[in-house]
């Protein structure tokens, strides 16, 4: 019993504490590197991650109660107003959908005549944001769908307005989403107006993305809408990402400085969609095309 002989333990414990520190420091260093460069630790993290579930429920309580109170206390006139607003919005959306069907059909026909591959609408999962990363410099959130719902790492996440980010860690019941504004995130985009390609990189600032490697002469203007280009194969093409807010040509720099504002409501919306990315089968699409080419 160390406690029974305090004097003795003062002198004997010093080196053993240092030894312990050394061992755990080497262990942690190893763990960090293994976790960073391999996926060996993923199953362990998944199992440990199960313990986080009750915490997320606990942290969600204030919001849930606020929502319930809000539901109970909404006045009749508010509801009527909301109802009429939604109804008119619905009519507009339906009108757009009518044209959408015709346009999709036309698009497919045109692509067939050109012998190009078809774009496939991807399936989706509805997800709710349950937690935000406690570090304000890291833009990551936790959503309430996970492996049990079929979520896989790398699947894109969108909200009603545009691209939000991608799943970077899938637990059993929850997964972590890296937002497009995180400084480690990049997404290939194209300018909707003319198809100019670029890469939109997060800045660590929730209302700013920057485009890198944009040539000084490239046709990018303020107000341009940036869509995912589908290059790289991670994000399906055609989802809105951001709107260009400023273009600055500095003669001293090799590329133009382009900043953009994400169109998705990254810090406000709670309902997100996870796109089932492997329902877009790039492999079979490209093999179809090559088979067609061989037939000819």
């Amino acid at each position: 019993m160390a406690g029974m002989h305090p004097m003795k333990s003062i002198f004997s414990s010093g080196s053993s504490i240092l030894l312990r520190l050394f061992i755990v420091a080497v262990l942690s260093g190893g763990l960090i590197l293994v976790d960073k460069y391999t996926d060996w630790l993923d199953p362990v993290k998944r199992i440990l991650g199960v313990t986080t579930v009750p915490f997320y429920h606990l942290m969600d309580i204030p919001y849930e109660t606020a929502e319930v109170m809000d539901d109970m206390l909404t006045s009749r006139s508010d509801l009527i107003e909301l109802n009429s607003k939604l109804r008119s919005e619905n009519i507009i959306l339906k009108k757009n959908m009518q044209r959408m069907a015709a346009l999709t059909a036309e698009n497919i026909r045109l692509r067939e005549t050109l012998g190009g591959s078809q774009r496939v609408d991807s399936e989706h999962l509805l997800a709710e944001v349950v937690a935000v990363d406690p570090d304000p410099f890291v833009h990551r959130t936790v959503i309430d769908v996970g492996l049990n719902d079929g979520v896989k790492e790398g699947w894109p996440v969108i909200d009603a307005k545009g691209l939000v980010g991608q799943v970077v860690e899938a637990g059993y019941q929850y997964s972590r989403v890296l937002l497009i504004t995180d400084s480690t995130h990049a997404v290939p985009v194209e300018v909707n107006r003319n198809g100019t390609r670029a890469i939109a990189v997060g800045t660590g600032n929730l209302d700013q993305l920057k485009l890198i490697y944009v040539a000084d002469t490239a046709d990018v203007e303020e107000g341009d809408l940036l869509l995912t280009s589908g290059l790289g194969g991670r994000f399906p093409a055609g989802y809105p990402v951001a709107r260009v807010t400023s273009v600055y040509h500095d003669p001293g720099r090799p590329y133009a400085l382009v900043k953009a504002l994400p169109v998705a409501e990254l810090d406000r919306s709670r309902q997100w969609l996870v796109l089932k990315s492997d329902s877009i089968d790039y492999q079979s699409l490209s093999s179809d095309v090559s088979e067609e080419a061989e037939d000819e």
Binding site: G3, L21, T184
Partner: protein, 162 residues
């Protein structure tokens, strides 16, 4: 404060850890989150000072692994930080107990700042970091909070006869 080995310390310790974990993860607006105190580190420093024979490097390391899982950081990042804090505390606790609260706060600031720099270096190796000095703000806020934290935990411990 007693330096002997204790028996009924575990549940108070565990509840302290869980509360700190909740506070570490509680969603805050951005301007507050930059200054979020390092609750877990404060609780650990208190317990290492209070019961150096029960709570040591390995315990703190395990708690750090738990925090890593909860925060979704690379496994080992917070673990290493808390292990170093525990080591510093174990070598300094006899001195710290003699200090008044202001001096203790300064020690806490030094310990947290130092380990923060260390984990910042690791974060820079394996990922990305913010490019501003704001990351030292939590250490400062924690040091300011230390006296009240210390009083509260000690009172609770007396009440629970730890």
């Amino acid at each position: 404060m007693n330096s002997g080995s204790k028996k009924n310390w575990f549940w108070p310790f565990l509840s302290g850890i869980l509360c700190a974990l909740l506070l570490e993860l509680w969603p805050l607006p951005d301007w507050m989150a930059v200054a979020r105190p390092e609750w877990m580190a404060l609780v650990l420093i208190f317990w290492v000072m209070f019961l150096p024979y029960n709570v040591g490097v390995v315990t703190c390391w395990l708690v750090g692994l738990l925090v890593d899982v909860f925060k979704g950081d690379y496994l080992g990042l917070n673990a290493m930080k808390y292990a170093v804090i525990a080591y510093l505390c174990l070598t300094l606790y006899q001195r710290m107990r003699m200090f008044n609260l202001l001096q203790q706060s300064m020690m806490v600031f030094l310990m947290l700042g130092l380990t923060k720099l260390m984990s910042y270096w690791w974060q820079e190796r394996v990922g990305s970091v913010s490019d501003v000095l704001w990351f030292l703000l939590p250490s400062l806020v924690s040091a300011v909070l230390w006296p009240s934290m210390y009083y509260m935990l000690r009172r609770l411990n007396y009440r629970w006869h730890v």
